[in-house]
């Protein structure tokens, strides 16, 4: 069997920030009642992190949980574990109204890193990216120019961004354009 490929095969660009496609990542959509103990346990069980608050995420390495909507979670696991994680959650939620499905191949993930990362995203996304308003642990579903995306801050100066696989090329080109040298604004305090 052939190895699966991501949308852009790990393409990267170095401008005022580094933009790189992260290759295949395991992503699972879990829809269900966030107040349900079974839903919480199923999610935290495979992700190994705490259940996130609204508009937040908790990630450690390739694992994590992100709040997508009042009844939807994004479960992050290594790509190779996704099917197993789906099966495990489905088994745990057998008696609970919920939907668990592997969406790893429907998405692309980028990493945007560097001191100007906030600024690059703010050129494309209508989100308050100032350090006081958005930091590690925050998660936002929004748009980048004309397509839906979601992103979160991994650590200082680095963001992870997901989009649909079909527009990975468009999003990569957007990020490259926003990260092109010469467009620096210096709006956000450096290193924050």
């Amino acid at each position: 069997m052939s190895d699966p490929v991501s949308a852009l095969n790990g393409a990267a660009y170095d401008g005022v920030v580094r933009v790189e496609e992260l290759g295949l990542r395991g992503m699972i959509t879990l829809r269900g009642d966030h107040a349900s103990v079974a839903v919480k346990n199923a999610a935290t069980g495979v992700a190994g992190v705490d259940f996130p608050d609204a508009l937040a995420c908790d990630t450690v390495g390739e694992r994590g949980l992100a709040w997508m909507s009042p009844d939807e979670l994004l479960v992050l696991v290594p790509y190779a574990e996704a099917d197993r994680a789906v099966a495990a959650m489905q088994a745990e939620l057998a008696g609970t109204h919920s939907l668990v499905v592997n969406v790893s191949d429907a998405r692309a993930m980028f990493r945007i890193s560097g001191p100007a990362a906030r600024e690059v995203l703010a050129k494309l996304c209508p989100v308050d990216l100032s350090p006081g308003a958005f930091g590690p642990g925050d998660f936002r579903r929004t748009r980048a120019a004309q397509v839906p995306v979601a992103f979160w801050m991994q650590a200082d100066d680095a963001f992870a961004l997901i989009c649909f696989r079909s527009v990975a090329g468009y999003v990569f080109d957007l990020l490259k354009t926003a990260a092109r040298p010469g467009g620096e604004i210096g709006y956000f305090p450096a290193g924050a």
Binding site: L99, V101, V167
Partner: protein
């Protein structure tokens, strides 16, 4: 003449000379100049021609309000018309051209229009050119278009890049004069996140020019200290060269940053559009001086008094050696004093007021300047340049009392607060009688979602024109904004600004007051659009009582400057002519942007390859590498066909159809929508969504379903597979994927929120590959891994497994009428699976086929296509799909609508097949003609073609169409009209042209 002074110029860097060209002539200026100040320094007062009469026009202003000095800047990909010289920062190598002249600026043939002014009054075009009608299009309009107009549109592709920037602030302050800076200090000290934007390259506005002192020191020192203090605050951002373009609902504002206009060779975006969300907005946009309406007030050399002192103080440019000042207020005396102190002559200050005894007039007298009160200007002498003025009594009819030679006139009719940004989102104005101006009515501010005001005006923009009030008003606005945010306003008092007291002005809408027709025809209100006092008076006489109507009739305020100088004077004239008070007339509407912004800034990054998103499927690269030609389907580009060698597209489609029917074809169907629907109520939900029954589907089976809108019209179709008791996978059309998912969520979230159903859009999770044709089973068996026999996987069944080692879900469904498997694999394996099929398929004669072959084959089978057979007015019953509309279900979306009288009308056009008598292909969309003509004299119609193709299988043209009573008219020949007036005969036949019993797909 205008010239550079030996000393001074607070904004100049005399160490850096910059050369530039104007109309091809090489000139020099200094770094810090604007194009306008550099032109004046080179004695270039004449900068353009007016729109209608081609009158010579000179600089009037020094800032954004300039109506005349519009130039074309740059060359080729960097050419841009209609740029204001006053807001263009000079840089080395700048190339500027004047506009609206032919053959040259100095000698312009169109100026003959000026002699015809008497016969070109307001509304002239409307009155004169309306009859005879055909002449407008062929004679009048081409002539007028040639003689009127401003800059030329650029011809080349824009060489620059542009971008957007989204920012959020507690307090957005628009305008970096002393009011804006003080507001920022107050808000910044309270801890609010503050963004201050200033349209020019300099902080402080006009306080330094006006000699204001703050806290005992010159304004300039205070400004430098304030800027330094603000820059030291982490919560405050200052940004220059960024104009507040518009204020919109809920604290949204646009800032237009001209990043590299002053340094075009920089590798940076040229313009940046700031999309700002602010909780409070302070409009500290200052005020604009008004011209006075006297005869000849458009002769080059007549300028705003404030502009003249701007040129002297900021850029050390003297607009003239002998400048007559004409005013109705004290402020203009500053210009006289400033000129005198620069060593220039001021022969007289003409003051329309009966008395002038304030501090400034006294100071002017003390300098030995002659002051004439109760006087006005009867007439300015000169053509392309002022040569003198004739004085008269302001109260009279213009009898000349005295003539004085001069080469410049500084005029001041008072000031108008820049209320644009206050007004954009609904802020109302009140008329301030004492200062003869509209200013923001604080009681009627723009309000946000919570009903609370979110815009305030500060400083001169709020009518606080005197420096002491300006600074205090800015401080108050900053404090009020932070209090509105729930923050504590900072303690301590603001610095005090000092400036001489000023006596009240006298409103003067016409000079002299009793001027006759001859003078009124020479009094310009709107310089750019050539609107005069006489035009507005004519409009009033002709009954244009509404200020909005008068504006459109006369074109007052309709030029690129949108009446920044002319509107209030025009209102004054109109109110006098109608005997109404100015406030009763009101103003025209202030709309964004404040001054024109570039199309590039609006587009941002959305150009070239980023103009719109292109969606790429996992197999896209293979299609490109293998010669596919594409067609747009939504934002996808799907392979239309794969021409080989020098095949035409039609030949390729024919080959692909034949090969699929005879051997095996491969179709990339990945773009099909795939929506997972799960929950205890999933069956009930889908029964309501689809016209047919879905809850009765058994796991492992597929069913074709139709979805209708509430109005009963067919909106999407596709195959539903039941995965397990609670789970269904709904296929949609390519274009319907997002729309149908949203449709499902809308019903679940707003109407059927009590249902236990979840959905997930899996469209992009899978590559879906249709393996189609008599050899399809053999190919999958060769790849191996799943039993795809008729027994194990019957028609309309599905199964999970692995094929060729790749996890796959295989659907036995057919859109071609052939033996067909649609294989869904994870998108990351899509290309590998496709290539495996292509490689193993060679032994079976496999060829990929595109969307056109797909269309042809489905039409041969009589399968409908959403968007071809449907157009938003078609119901399933029209298409012979009544079998898929449940009669048993109590309800489904569209059911009630389909029972309405018009929907059950037997006369509705219904789907049939059509075979041309001559075998040709009917034009898509052609109408079937009927006997007689309708009320408009057009042929009656009885149907139309919805799809038409050449059928390689039948060797002739086939079509599907909707025909009145069609299914009852089998065998009848009807006529279809062609665009060239001809008729094509076609026989009504069964819509299923191929394998009516469906034997081939079920083997």
């Amino acid at each position: 003449m205008s010239t550079r002074l030996q000393t001074g110029g607070r904004l100049l860097d005399r160490g850096r000379r910059e050369s530039f060209t104007f109309n091809g002539r090489r000139l020099t200026g200094y770094a810090g100049d604007t194009l306008a100040s550099a032109l004046l320094a080179n004695d270039r007062m004449l900068v353009g021609r007016s729109f209608k009469y081609h009158r010579p026009r000179g600089l009037v202003a020094s800032g954004a309000e300039e109506p005349n000095a519009l130039v074309g800047l740059g060359r080729g990909g960097r050419f841009e018309p209609n740029q204001r010289a006053t807001t263009t920062e000079l840089f080395g190598g700048l190339q500027a051209e004047s506009q609206n002249h032919w053959p040259s600026l100095e000698f312009d043939i169109g100026a003959v229009n000026g002699r015809l002014a008497r016969v070109l009054p307001a509304g002239f075009y409307y009155k004169t050119f309306i009859h005879p009608r055909p002449l407008w299009k062929h004679v009048y309009e081409p002539f007028i278009r040639k003689s009127a107009g401003l800059g030329k549109p650029p011809q080349d592709r824009d060489a620059d890049r542009y971008e957007h920037f989204h920012v959020f602030a507690d307090v957005l302050i628009i305008g970096g004069g002393i009011a804006g800076l003080q507001a920022a200090l107050a808000a910044g000290r309270a801890g609010a996140r503050v963004l201050v934007i200033e349209q020019t390259a300099h902080w402080g506005g006009r306080a330094p020019v006006d000699g204001v002192r703050i806290g005992g020191a010159p304004a300039e020192e205070w400004i430098a200290r304030a800027v330094a203090r603000l820059e030291a605050m982490e919560n405050v951002t200052l940004h220059r060269r960024t104009m507040g373009a518009g204020v919109y609902d809920h604290g949204y504002a646009l800032g237009y940053e001209r990043v590299t206009d002053h340094a075009p060779e920089t590798d940076a975006p040229r313009h940046r559009l700031w999309k700002i969300r602010a909780r409070q907005i302070i409009s500290a946009t200052g005020a604009i001086e008004r011209p006075l309406s006297f005869a000849g007030n458009d002769v080059p050399g007549v300028m705003l008094a404030s502009a003249i002192r701007d040129y002297v103080v900021n850029w050390a440019v003297s607009p003239g050696d002998r400048t007559v000042v004409v005013t109705n207020n004290d402020d203009a005396y500053r210009t006289a004093i400033c000129l005198k102190q620069a060593g220039l002559e001021v022969p007289v200050i003409v003051d329309a007021r009966p008395r002038a005894e304030g501090a400034l007039p006294e100071a002017a007298r003390a300098l030995g300047i002659r002051v004439e009160t109760g006087r006005g200007i009867a007439m300015v002498m000169g053509g392309k340049r002022v040569t003198g003025v004739a004085l008269c009594a302001q109260a009279g009819e213009g009898a000349v009392l005295e003539q004085l030679p001069c080469d410049a006139v500084a005029m001041s009719g008072g000031w108008s607060p820049v209320v644009h940004l206050w007004s954009h989102c609904g802020g109302k104005l009140l008329w301030d009688d004492a200062q003869a101006m509209f200013r923001p009515d604080v009681a009627r501010a723009p309000t946000s979602h919570d009903g609370a005001p979110f815009v305030s005006a500060a400083g001169a923009a709020n009518g606080a024109l005197r420096a002491a009030e300006t600074l205090a008003d800015g401080d108050a606005a900053g404090r009020a904004a932070v209090r509105a945010l729930g923050l504590r306003a900072p303690g301590g008092a603001a610095d005090r600004a000092e400036a001489p007291d000023e006596a009240p002005l006298l409103p003067v809408w016409m000079m002299p007051q009793g001027a006759g027709e001859a003078l009124r025809m020479k009094m310009w209100l709107d310089y750019q659009n050539d609107v005069k006092v006489s035009d507005l008076q004519l409009a009033a006489r002709e009954g244009y009582e509404s200020v909005e109507h008068a504006k459109r009739y006369t074109t007052l305020g309709m030029a690129t400057d949108q009446g920044k100088l002319s509107n209030i004077n025009g209102l004054g004239v109109l109110s006098d002519a109608m005997g109404e008070d100015v406030p009763r007339l009101g103003t025209t509407t202030f709309r964004p942007p404040y001054t024109p912004i570039s199309m590039g800034a609006i587009a941002g990054e959305a150009r070239g390859g980023l103009f719109q998103p292109l969606r790429r499927g996992p197999i896209q690269r293979w299609h490109e590498d293998n010669g596919a030609t594409f067609e747009p389907v939504g934002q996808w580009r799907r392979p239309y066909c794969y021409p080989r060698g020098d095949e035409t597209r039609a030949e390729a489609v024919t080959r692909e159809v034949r090969n699929t029917r005879q051997a095996i074809g491969l179709l990339d169907a990945s773009t099909l929508g795939k929506i997972l629907v799960k929950g205890p109520d999933a069956g009930r939900f889908l029964d309501l969504l689809y016209t047919n029954m879905m809850s009765s589907l058994t796991p492992g089976r597929c069913r074709y379903g139709l979805m209708c809108s509430e109005n009963g019209f067919l909106m999407d179709d596709g195959v539903v597979a039941r995965i397990d008791d609670q789970t269904f996978l709904c296929h949609t059309t390519t274009g319907g994927a997002d729309r149908i998912h949203a449709h499902m969520e809308e019903w679940l979230q707003t109407e059927w929120w009590d249902m236990q159903v979840h959905t997930a859009n899996l469209t992009e999770q899978f590559a879906q590959i249709a393996v189609v044709g008599p050899n399809a089973r053999a190919l999958l068996e060769t790849l191996g891994g799943m039993d795809v026999s008729r027994e194990a996987l019957p028609f309309m069944g599905w199964a999970d497994g692995r094929i060729g080692g790749i996890p796959a879900r295989v659907f036995r469904i057919s859109f071609s009428g052939e033996l067909s498997y649609e294989v869904a694999v994870p998108a990351g394996h899509g290309l590998a699976f496709w290539e495996a099929c292509v490689a193993a398929g060679q032994a079976f004669g496999l060829m990929p086929y595109g969307t056109e072959a797909l269309h042809v084959m489905r039409a041969e089978k009589g399968f409908i296509m959403i968007g071809d057979e449907t157009d938003g007015t078609v119901i399933p019953q029209d298409l012979g799909l009544g079998w898929a509309v449940s009669k048993k279900k109590a309800d489904f979306i569209g059911k009630r609508a389909q029972e309405r009288a018009h929907m059950t009308d037997p006369e509705r056009w219904k789907l049939v097949g059509l075979e041309t008598i001559d075998g040709s292909v009917l034009p898509d969309g052609a109408y079937a003609v009927a006997e007689g003509r309708n009320a408009n004299g057009q042929r009656n119609v009885q149907g139309h073609v919805t799809s038409a193709y050449f059928s390689p299988t039948l060797g002739r043209g086939i079509a599907l169409g909707l025909v009145r009573n069609g299914p009852d008219r089998m065998g009848e020949v009807i006529s279809f009209a062609t665009i060239d007036g001809g008729l094509i005969g076609a026989r009504i036949v069964d819509p299923v042209f191929y394998d009516k019993d469906g034997e081939k797909q079920d083997v």
